[in-house]
């Protein structure tokens, strides 16, 4: 089990139950809010200047440690930098880490899972044991190990989180593949005289990989939290980079006198994770009833 497998399971369960209530198509308030926030993040990623025109690195020692106000929505930090500007501009690097880690996790997971599910039982057995062994180490531990070997930094943190999440993806994909491979419609295709390659390409792979979009959306939230945790522990992105985890870590020093410095970056991590979950479930529901 991994956070991801639980998330995926929940998304599936919720979608299944909702279908019975015939409100699958309805878009709830939560989904709208999540989408709005995701839109904000998208703009902040592509054109941060649109949501926050300032320079995230511009210092102004005279206006350091200012509490949130109209001039500085999220307050200012120890060097007088505007926290809102930094959080907005930090979206790119924070999401980059989350997205890249998720892609790495998905990629490795898809390859491992497919290999395990496709090839003979010997390989499957081996890969399965391997995944189980990897699971004996909680994700963050795995990431820490990786960082110890390759040294800290944003790149290794990304890779570490990606690798740490890969077993989760691999197991879901393998399970999906096994169930698709033994499904009635694949047998039906055999009875119709389809070739193995054609069955693989036309039926098995598309049906196996279809959940990847949902998985990725669900996984991104957790990946961002993990990456932020690594930055927080000083093993990921480093200040003055406007990355959320690094900002949080820097802001924690001033926790007792300038709460806003760590509150807002953390809030963005939380909101991102929440909206990823909500949107992931909405996508799952859509796909299931498309």
């Amino acid at each position: 089990m991994s956070d991801l497998e639980i998330q995926a399971g929940l998304a599936g369960a919720a979608a299944r139950r909702r279908s019975g209530r015939r409100i699958a198509g309805r878009i709830g308030v939560t989904e709208v809010l999540a989408a709005v926030f995701a839109l904000f993040l998208l703009v902040a990623t592509l054109a941060p200047g649109l949501v926050a025109p300032g320079d995230p690195l511009a210092i102004d020692p005279r206006s350091a440690f200012q509490a949130p106000s109209w001039a500085h929505w999220f307050g200012t930090d120890e060097s007088g930098r505007d926290v809102y500007t930094r959080v907005s501009h930090g979206t790119l690097s924070s999401l980059q880490i989350g997205v890249a880690a998720t892609l790495i996790g998905l990629g490795f997971g898809a390859v491992l899972g497919t290999v395990a599910g496709m090839l003979g039982s010997v390989v499957d057995f081996t890969v399965n044991r391997l995944l189980e062994v990897m699971f004996a180490f909680p994700g963050l531990l795995l990431a820490l190990l990786f960082i110890m070997v390759f040294g800290p930094g944003p790149a290794t943190a990304t890779l570490a989180v990606g690798l740490a999440t890969a077993p989760g993806y691999a197991r879901i994909i393998r399970a999906q593949l096994v169930s698709v491979r033994s499904s009635a419609f694949v047998e039906a295709a055999t009875v119709l005289g389809r070739s193995r390659a054609r069955i693989l390409l036309r039926h098995i792979l598309p049906n196996t990989l279809a959940p990847l979009l949902v998985l990725g959306t669900l996984g991104i939230g957790q990946a961002i939290i993990w990456a932020a945790a690594l930055s927080y522990l000083g093993l990921g992105a480093k200040p003055p980079a406007a990355e959320w985890g690094a900002m949080l870590s820097a802001g924690r020093t001033y926790l007792s006198t300038a709460v806003w410095m760590s509150f807002f970056p953390g809030l963005f991590v939380v909101l991102t994770a929440i909206s990823a979950t909500v949107l992931g479930r909405a996508v799952e529901r859509r796909l299931r009833h498309a």
């Binding site: 009635a184 419609f185 047998e187 039906a188 055999t190 009875v191 036309r202 039926h203 279809a210 498309a290």
Partner: protein, 596 residues
């Protein structure tokens, strides 16, 4: 409608306060049949329903799913409610206990149990009556017992809730109940959980739980549908005993044969209304309403090959012709001598041959299970071979061997005279077109991502041909753009047949093609298969556990028990004079409409 309104009859509504078990004398419950006579002295019917309407959501009173239904049941009487799937039978049953479901509304002019009105009862009031004044056996028997609790507890629940009996006394009563419903070894059974019981045993445990307090009224929703004929017969015996003891019974079923055996009166439901009521025999012999006629016509049991079971044209629903002679035949269960001969007369050449097929599976405890044991038969061109047997007897495994989805451990399958099993898939692939398959679970047999059009185009290559095929199976071209999930059960099965036909096969293997369908749709599909066989000269292997269906469609029949063939031969002779005790047992258990 002036009736009282009960909202949120299901579990999630507010629970009014003020409970308290009144009027229950534990003393009278300690006997073997504590309330057997308690119901008799009561005046009036055990159940009286007048102008009942039930619906969900929206404005109460609009879009009812149950519309102005009225009936009554006297003590010791059995009323059967029949009707097609979705007509509102189960909803009616649940509404009688105030369990219509979350978000439901209910109107009735009168609704009373044992002469006492239950309209306007609060949740607490309902709780006092449920299980004591009325028992309910749910439709989904296999999952209606908590899999985590011993059945003894489940059965004892009503006693725990409504009496002040001690745990020991309850346990003793549970043992009595188990014995009553025909589950011997009560002490052992009471400790088992539903997962450790067979379907029939579960159904009986469920009935025991419902009658624990001897409620004057028992409502049983499709109590035999999921069961083998042999088990079904035993359950009906149990009901008859209860009726004799004075219990009023509302039996819900779509199976007219079952109904005819035990019901005193029948109410036919359609679209949420009761369209016809009457004494069982009279109603079956002389159906008035079109729906009733259609239902009777759809019964395949005892209907000769080639007889139409369904109406030609669904939208107008003209009444299918019921020749009085045929009706007599149905009712007596014999195949009339005048049965039209099938195309089998023109047949003769063997297209499919199984010889000495053996297949075994390794069980978790390392022993081997012989699923198919030395099965041999031949299928002649243009004929239908029926394969029957109880659940788990190896029918599906046999079908998979025929389709070469699995290699046999021993024996051989030959198709059109050439070796079929034991050759590499590569060699078989070009010849696969000769063999089509129709599955019980049509939905699962389609790639969920593909539309009906894509599914057919995958096989035939062109859109025109797809439309032609659809036409052949009686589907409109409009379904082409839809995914399997968006089709009805009957449409899915037709699409499955269309796909099977696309390769122009000579042989069609059908594994339970109609068991998931309701009677009316089943009739249409059976008619379609019959028609296709006639037009295209198809040879069919027809697998089913439903003897009635097999009897109707087959020229020859193979009966298997535990993987072995116990009897085979022409359908008529086998049904008329079964040689093997197992076949006899199967046939004896099939309920039949009584002779008028």
């Amino acid at each position: 409608m002036s009736g009282a309104r009960v909202t949120g009859g299901g579990g999630t509504g507010p629970i009014p306060t003020g409970t308290g078990s009144t009027g229950t004398d534990p003393g009278t419950l300690s006997g073997t049949v504590p309330r057997a006579d308690a119901a008799k002295p009561r005046r009036g019917p055990a159940l009286l329903v007048r102008g009942l309407s039930v619906g969900f959501g929206g404005v109460p009173g609009t879009n009812p799913l149950i519309d102005d239904v009225s009936f009554e049941v006297a003590p010791g009487e059995c009323l059967a409610i029949v009707g097609e799937s979705g007509s509102g039978k189960s909803l009616t049953a649940r509404s009688l206990l105030g369990l219509a479901g979350a978000g439901s509304w209910l109107h009735a002019d009168e609704l009373s149990l044992g002469g006492a009105s239950v309209l306007g009862l609060g949740e607490a009031g309902w709780r006092r009556r449920r299980g004591r004044d009325v028992g309910l056996v749910l439709q989904d028997a296999l999952v209606s017992l908590d899999p985590l609790r011993p059945i003894g507890r489940e059965i004892g629940d009503a006693l725990r809730l409504h009496t002040s009996l001690s745990a020991g006394a309850r346990a003793r009563r549970v043992l009595e109940l188990l014995a009553e419903v025909g589950l011997p070894d009560g002490e052992l059974r009471a400790g088992q959980r539903s997962g450790q019981l067979s379907g029939g045993q579960r159904q009986r445990a469920l009935i025991a739980a419902a009658i624990a307090l001897r409620p004057p009224l028992l409502i049983a929703d499709e109590p035999t549908t999921a069961l083998d004929v042999t088990v079904q017969a035993r359950i009906l015996d149990l009901f008859e005993e209860l009726l004799r003891a004075g219990t009023a019974l509302v039996l819900i079923s779509h199976d007219l044969a079952v109904v005819s055996r035990i019901a005193d009166r029948v109410a036919v439901m359609s679209g949420g209304r009761i369209v016809e009521t009457g004494a069982t025999r009279a109603l079956l012999a002389d159906p008035q309403h079109a729906e009733t006629k259609r239902m009777i016509a759809a019964v395949p049991a005892g209907r000769p090959r080639g007889t139409r079971l369904s109406a030609q044209d669904r939208p107008h629903r003209p009444e299918p012709e019921i020749d009085p002679a045929v009706l007599t035949a149905i009712v007596s269960g014999s195949v009339p001598a005048t049965a039209p001969t099938s195309v089998s007369a023109a047949a003769g050449r063997v297209v499919l041959e199984a010889s000495g097929l053996v297949k075994s599976f390794r069980m978790p405890n390392r022993s081997r299970l012989l699923a198919v044991n030395d099965v041999s038969f031949t299928l002649d061109r243009g004929t239908t071979l029926g394969i029957v047997g109880e659940s788990g007897s190896g029918k599906t495994t046999l079908a998979r061997l025929l389709l070469a989805l699995e290699p046999p451990d021993a024996g051989e399958v030959r198709v059109l005279g050439e070796a079929w099993s034991g050759v590499p898939e590569r060699a078989r692939r070009p010849r696969r077109a000769a063999l089509g398959a129709v599955y019980q679970d049509a939905l699962a047999s389609f790639d969920p991502r593909l539309t009906a059009g894509a599914i057919l185009r995958d096989v035939v290559g062109s859109a025109d041909q797809s439309v032609e095929l659809l036409d052949r199976v009686g589907l409109a071209a409009s379904v082409l753009g839809r995914r399997p999930l968006e089709l009805s059960g009957g449409q899915r099965q037709r699409l499955g047949i269309a796909r099977a036909l696309a390769n122009r096969p000579q042989i069609l293997i059908c594994d339970e093609p109609v068991s998931a369908l309701d009677m009316t749709v089943q009739a249409q599909v059976l008619d379609l298969l019959d028609e296709l066989q006639r037009d295209l000269g198809l040879s069919l292997v027809f697998i089913s556990h439903d003897l009635g269906v097999v009897q109707h469609v087959s020229d020859r029949i193979v009966v298997i028990e535990n993987g072995s063939v116990v009897e085979s031969g022409g359908t008529g002779p086998v049904f008329a004079a079964p040689a093997h005790p197992y076949t006899r047992r199967l046939l004896d258990a099939v309920p039949r409409l009584p002779t008028p």
